[in-house]
Symmetry: C2
Subunit: 319 residues, 2 copies
């Protein structure tokens, strides 16, 4: 079943939760969907350029995401890692054998001067993905997690320290001078798109880095299309990852209402889970629309259903 | 059983045949053996620095060489390659999942400015290898195979073209200015070693690149210790690889006698296979000593036996 929209839809996303909604949107929109994906978590490891969020979105849309780990490729094998351990190599970041093929191709192409967006598009074509997956920028932007006097590279915080230290702030190195990839230029023209959907990703770690690219923020703030966000916080907690913990650490309320406050001025409509129905009025008091539904995506069907509901909200707003 | 020599023995080697003799020598000499290994076949592929001969010697001595392929690691898996094919990456050179760990560690360390010899020594320690494995140089030397007007990078000739084009000449780019690694300095002092053994490797592709490093050739030519070579040609053919074919193409006789002529002036004693016993007199007429034995190493025991015979030849010459 394909929705009847004729203009493209743009979705912003980071990791697993966002990737699931992107997958749902891709199921109903096909190549009329463009996912703009966080690259603030990108890093170099053992000589490889690793783009965790691009990979998660790409693998999810290709139907090869590893359901057990929440990252990497399904039917993965670990021979490389076993041998790496034997040879005394670094072990804190797990590299699956299949996953490595993505890293090797991407790294070699970057070394040859190709932009990350071009490489991503080639990988997507090879994986048979119809939707467009575009990194937020081809420039280097790095998320830095501050914990008191410490300034941690994202992977240090997320993988090595397992998000255990308290977060006191975030910064996105390089964002101020970063430009969106040329592939987004057409979509950034006035009247080019139907809507912007912000997935249930961590607002600090996945969405804010995208919004830290000045031209992307200006585009989204200045766009006259519906902007719909799905709350990543359900019943006061994140389904996955440190979003709720970080909100508390940063002095925000770890709830869908906290999310609404975070996105105020940018997002027109917030989609809340039924568990948070009582917060809908609070959201509306902030001047936003609130829509309550089941936001927890357990299977493929949930993804398409939630995506369809997001598109319906857009249509309702446009009609 | 350990031979009683007190001074170190140096062995020169390239690929599979050479590695087997090195393994035999390592079994009887332990850390009194230093293998100087060809790096003329080293190349970059998909961003990895690959050292085929170092790997073959290293894997053989660690007891993890893949007996089926003649290269790479035993119990190998191929998930990386499968995914690489799916993603449209280059497929002409096969990279096993375990093997990749070596390439990744080596490449990253080289990028960090470590010399190849230091990295090799660290890898050997991790693999529990007692003998010393030293690349012929830390500098870049590249074997170029000439075929008429064509100048082929070694892997182009060896893997992509499967040695099918006729060889009209060879050159070793960078050899003239290449220096031996510092790790060899002690062994290169007068009186430091007991003997030099040249393994049954391809003389053109494995040994000549080593001898093309001026200081190594000068050392071997000027050394007063026994220099023993094992013929890689048995019954007019190479046990493995294109050695015999190349000898014919380059106008030499594809026989142990051709090998003797090739090494004349450098090698004091040539070890021939029983199949070539009739050629022993011809070798002696060139002013070299000839020793006839079983040179085909089918199993581990053959390796140690042949190594012991080589060491015995050295002792006989010294006594």
């Amino acid at each position: 079943m394909t929705a009847s929209a004729s203009k493209p839809v743009v979705a912003l996303a980071g990791g697993v939760g966002g990737a699931k909604l992107i997958d749902g949107l891709a199921q109903i929109l096909g190549n009329r969907l463009t996912a703009v994906v966080n690259t603030g978590d990108d890093f170099r490891h053992l000589g490889f350029h690793i783009s965790p969020d691009l990979d998660t979105v790409m693998y999810t849309l290709a139907g090869i995401a590893n359901p057990e780990t929440g990252w990497g490729v399904a039917d993965e094998t670990w021979s490389f890692m076993e041998q790496l351990i034997r040879l005394g190599g670094p072990t804190w970041f797990k590299l699956g054998d299949r996953d490595l093929a993505t890293h090797a191709i991407r790294t070699e192409a970057l070394r040859g001067g190709e932009p990350l967006s071009t490489i991503t598009s080639q990988l997507c074509r090879a994986l048979g993905i119809d939707a467009n997956i575009v990194p937020m920028t081809d420039d280097d932007v790095r998320t830095i997690v501050k914990s008191g006097a410490q300034r941690l590279a994202f992977q240090d915080y997320f993988v090595r320290l397992r998000t255990e230290v308290p977060v006191t702030g975030l910064s996105f190195e390089g964002a101020v001078t970063a430009k969106p990839p040329a592939a987004l230029a057409d979509l950034m023209r006035k009247g080019a798109i139907e809507a912007i959907v912000i997935g249930p990703s961590n607002p600090y770690l996945s969405i804010d880095p995208i919004l830290a690219v000045p031209a992307l923020r200006a585009w989204i703030e200045g766009s006259e299309v519906p902007v719909v966000a799905v709350s990543p916080i359900v019943g006061g907690d994140a389904l996955k990852g440190p979003a709720a913990k970080m909100m508390r650490e940063l002095g925000a309320e770890a709830s869908a209402l906290g999310i609404a406050r975070h996105y105020r001025g940018l997002v027109r409509t917030l989609v809340l889970d039924r568990a948070d129905a009582a917060l809908a009025d609070g959201v509306r008091e902030l001047g936003m629309q609130a829509s309550v539904t089941d936001t927890v995506m357990k299977g493929e069907a949930d993804r398409a259903r939630l995506a369809r509901e997001c598109v319906a909200l857009v249509r309702a707003e446009l009609s």
